[in-house]
């Protein structure tokens, strides 16, 4: 087992999940309550990573984050190294790649909150932020946990974007999924099998936790 890659992958997933919750909660609140005509566009952009091939994102991110754009040059100027092929670059790539896995469950949770409760809150003089903190979030805990688990496991399973944007640098960008690719290429089938089983177990356990905890409609016995 490549413990360096395991540690790196878990850290990447944790950073990504944390950032996605910070971005995803206000973004979902905006999507659910806005009257802006740009809503369908913003919502589409948030879901786009579900449909795009990872190579498309990997390619554009590589170009956008690279030293040939103003942003890329600014980054190199400040930090001395480009974002691509670094852990920071992978975090940016993963945040974009997993964005739908945060926004979709959280906004679904917000949509499911009884509007009467929000109206009551408004009548009592609560502003948007207070409504979010005291009504929406407590009533959407389950959706937020779902979003967090999905973001975490989806980032662990990421391959295409990481390969294109991160290369395969041990300790910096070699995640578990890349390590498997390497191990197979190196005929280390036994190691590849161990790594693959670990990923399989993580994903399966995460899904079991999600489905065990999700409420089910009561279906009458026939």
């Amino acid at each position: 087992m490549d413990y360096q890659a395991l540690w790196l992958t878990l850290r990447l997933a944790a950073f990504t999940t944390g950032i996605l919750l910070v971005i995803g909660i206000p973004l979902s609140e905006w999507i659910v309550f806005t009257h802006s005509r740009t809503r369908p566009l913003i919502e589409s952009l948030c879901s786009l990573p579900l449909l795009l091939p990872p190579t498309v994102m990997g390619f554009y991110l590589l170009v956008l984050l690279g030293p040939r754009t103003a942003f890329g040059r600014f980054w190199v100027h400040c930090f001395g190294h480009p974002l691509a092929f670094s852990f920071g670059g992978l975090v940016i790539g993963s945040v974009i790649y997993s964005l739908p896995f945060a926004v979709q469950p959280i906004s679904a949770g917000f949509y499911g909150v009884n509007p009467a409760m929000l109206e009551q809150g408004q009548l009592l003089g609560a502003g948007r932020i207070r409504l979010l903190r005291q009504v929406l979030l407590p009533l959407s805990k389950r959706s937020i946990l779902t979003a967090a688990i999905l973001c975490f496991t989806h980032t662990i399973g990421e391959f295409g974007v990481v390969l294109m944007l991160g290369g395969d640098i041990p300790g910096a960008t070699r995640t578990l999924s890349i390590a498997i690719y390497d191990q197979v290429q190196d005929f280390a089938y036994k190691q590849a099998n161990h790594t693959a089983l670990l990923l399989l177990a993580i994903s399966l356990i995460a899904l079991i936790v999600l489905y065990t905890r999700s409420p089910r409609p009561q279906v009458p016995h026939a």
Partner: protein, 256 residues
């Protein structure tokens, strides 16, 4: 119960993002052509034993590695499988040298599993009408793939065999395609063919050297690399007579 689960998960996240004990140890990062995957690890160990410098290698096709270096990947030393890809790095002003440093010469072989239809492999096997699939490294990305294409063109077989080619991203993957039985025969590097695994699973014939341009492998130290001094040391070590002699039985010939 639910709140506890949620709390536990977020504590777990927090534990992961707090900076851990990152080792401040210097690491020399090597971008190595895929044909070096079977031979480089023991050499890096010897280098570490001699100098105390720890080196880590990433193995890809020479083209992929060159592209990564041009886009700013933090490699210190580029060990390519030909001279054209290090030359590209030089042309982009990203190398310390003005021309690639030659460190070895690769050999192209044709390989098949012992349990395949082609138990008695020869170059003429390529003309066998029953042949269905041939693994080859991508000629655009991998010098060994380019050599295989040149050999097939020389034999006048490129056009007829083209629909049967299974194209791998790099030469190590080509070996993987054919050893796993997914391709019947394959053009692989001699370094792969001489590994314990491929020697146990199959056999090879050497592609005649006059059928393809020599695979001269060149290296450059990446300009502005964090470990440029260590990279120069490793390159010198790779070219020392003891390492050269060591490489020969593993499929890499010396070059001048």
């Amino acid at each position: 119960m639910f709140d506890r689960l949620m709390k536990a998960f977020f504590v777990f996240l927090l534990a992961l993002v707090t900076p851990g004990l990152s080792s401040a140890q210097q690491t020399l990062r090597v971008a190595a052509a895929a044909d070096l995957q079977p031979v480089l690890p023991p050499i890096l160990k010897q280098f570490e034993a001699q100098t105390g410098i720890h080196a880590e290698a990433s193995y890809q096709s020479s083209a992929t590695l060159a592209t990564q270096i041009l886009n700013g990947a933090p490699f210190d030393l580029f060990l390519a499988a030909d001279l054209s890809f290090p030359q590209r790095v030089i042309d982009a002003g990203k190398a310390e040298e003005s021309q690639p440093v030659r460190y070895a010469r690769g050999t192209l072989v044709l390989w098949a599993r012992n349990d395949s239809h082609f138990a008695r492999l020869s170059i003429d096997t390529l003309k066998d009408a029953s042949l269905k699939s041939i693994a080859i490294a991508n000629p655009e990305h991998a010098p060994y793939g380019r050599a295989a294409k040149a050999a097939l063109e020389k034999l006048g077989l490129w056009d007829t065999l083209r629909p049967k080619l299974v194209i791998a991203e790099n030469i190590a993957q080509a070996a993987q395609y054919v050893d796993s039985g997914n391709a019947e025969i394959g053009f692989v590097s001699l370094t792969s063919a001489l590994t314990q695994r491929l020697q146990a699973d199959g056999h090879y014939v050497t592609v005649p050297a006059e059928d393809y341009p020599p695979i001269i492998q060149g290296a450059v130290v990446v300009k502005g690399a964090a470990e440029a001094q260590a990279a120069r040391q490793l390159l010198l070590f790779m070219r020392s007579s003891s390492v050269r002699d060591q490489l020969v039985p593993h499929g890499l010939a010396p070059t001048n």
